[in-house]
Symmetry: C2
Subunit: 285 residues, 2 copies
């Protein structure tokens, strides 16, 4: 199978509309229809149900959408890593580390400082991403390593090392009655009538609910300060609290683990050095 056909298929499977998919691909609709039909013939499997008024994925189509995305990611990763290895920037002398913006800031500081001191250290490019999925960045080669947080990120398919664990806090408007408490439980914050939990997009769409829609951390901080919402965050979020915020420990929230993760079987020497530095950081506390 050809990556071209696979990209076409993914586009159609995502749009569920040949016309829009063709537009997205920058081509006309007829050749796209033909390419999909040819792909189905070559695989010997029907991928779409062409009903009147639109298309739907078959079971085989769902499998191909899932597996195909992984294959395309792997192909993109191969291209990116090859270009980086042969580019003008000396071979593998540059690592891209994906971190969630404002997450584990202090740990990141220490990691960068410790790694910079390693003789022969590669240059580290920090890829700050808001709510973008770090898993995808690792899979398609845009990043070489990522600081990820369980239980929010899945570490499946990557190698990883746990660096720290921490408790969680509720971040409230300082003037809210609950802010006076010594500690809270998940049940306490889950159902505060005047402070609905903020919603942030997962996979591009916002889950339904009463809370405000959040796009970045600053927005969230401001909404909390305004007394419109509350947030549950790892302990290290204290680093960016405002004076109008109150941080109250959650006694029964799950521990948040910070891990450094990288593509399984990675063979980059520079990456190995970064990981070693990270794990040594952990041992020292």
């Amino acid at each position: 199978m050809d990556t071209r056909e696979l990209r076409y298929f993914v586009a159609v499977a995502e749009e569920l509309h040949f016309g829009r998919a063709a537009e997205r691909l920058g081509m006309a609709q007829p050749p796209l229809s033909r390419a999909i039909k040819q792909l189905e013939r070559r695989l010997g499997v029907s991928l779409f149900e062409r009903n009147r008024r639109g298309v739907a994925l078959t079971g085989a189509g769902e499998v191909l959408l899932y597996e195909g995305r992984a294959a395309l990611d792997a192909t993109d990763a191969a291209v990116r890593r090859t270009q980086r290895a042969g580019g003008v920037d000396a071979p593998s002398s540059r690592l891209v580390l994906a971190v969630k913006a404002a997450g584990s800031h202090e740990l990141l500081q220490r990691l960068l400082a410790a790694y910079a001191a390693v003789p022969g250290a590669a240059e580290i490019e920090v890829l700050l991403c808001g709510f973008c999925d770090q898993e995808g960045l690792l899979r398609d080669g845009r990043a070489d390593a990522a600081l990820m947080h369980t239980p929010f990120n899945s570490l499946a398919g990557f190698d990883s090392e746990e660096l720290t664990t921490e408790g969680q806090i509720a971040i409230l408007p300082a003037r809210h009655p609950l802010a006076a408490r010594e500690s809270l439980t998940v049940a306490d914050v889950g159902d505060v009538p005047d402070l609905p939990l903020a919603r942030w997009p997962s996979y591009g769409v916002y889950p339904p609910g009463p809370g405000p829609e959040i796009r970045d951390q600053t927005q969230l901080a401001q909404l909390i300060a305004l007394g419109r919402t509350l947030a549950v965050m790892p302990d290290s979020a204290r680093a960016w609290l405002w004076s109008e915020h109150a941080a109250i420990p959650l006694t029964d929230a799950p521990q948040v683990g910070t891990h450094i993760a990288w593509p399984a079987h990675s063979r980059s020497l520079a990456l190995a050095g970064l990981i070693r530095t990270a794990t040594e950081l952990r041992r020292r506390g």
Copy 2:
């Protein structure tokens, strides 16, 4: 990048010879040369050093060989799983389980029996492989799950669950002096002058050494019975010993773990059932 170009590249990178690679690909040499050059131009990276008398991989070429194989595996897996999902055999009602021939036989028996009793169980096709790499089978979709053995197999990149651990034994000719011992150490068996350790192929080639070259378990068993070699095996290998063999426990050999492994993020319901059955097997002992 196109899978076609990638397959061409991998062929040349493996053969390090345009003519042989072209032959393997069933095409003439000139278009292959051109395709590689075009790939290099498209990536903006030099992949081969064309010296006089042959070609060699550049650093970028090594990266692409490694990453490209993974990408091709992922593509093949997408094709295979899609075809299986849409084939005549009802969707995902069939699972392929890769096991090392004669390894963990008793565990496999129990697993198959237990899973067959699960209501709605899928059909299990057992893919017995000699010394073929199970990692590859999982990666390119020829298998859905595998029973793998640490520390021999790497579980990197897969999800896995440990099922059992066991010690290791030395298998000797029954009439050999060492066969009378109660127990042995790795040092004892590592350097027996008249019983050199057998060599089996890793990645298609035999490592150098004095021992006989082995292709399958029967051959090994016979060579031991003939007093030509000895072998170190997990405890469960006792299942296939001959009367002319002696099994002596190794006190200081690393524990061998048997794991069931599957592609990370697998979403097959049938596979989930198999894994659940396997882990329950473990809990019951």
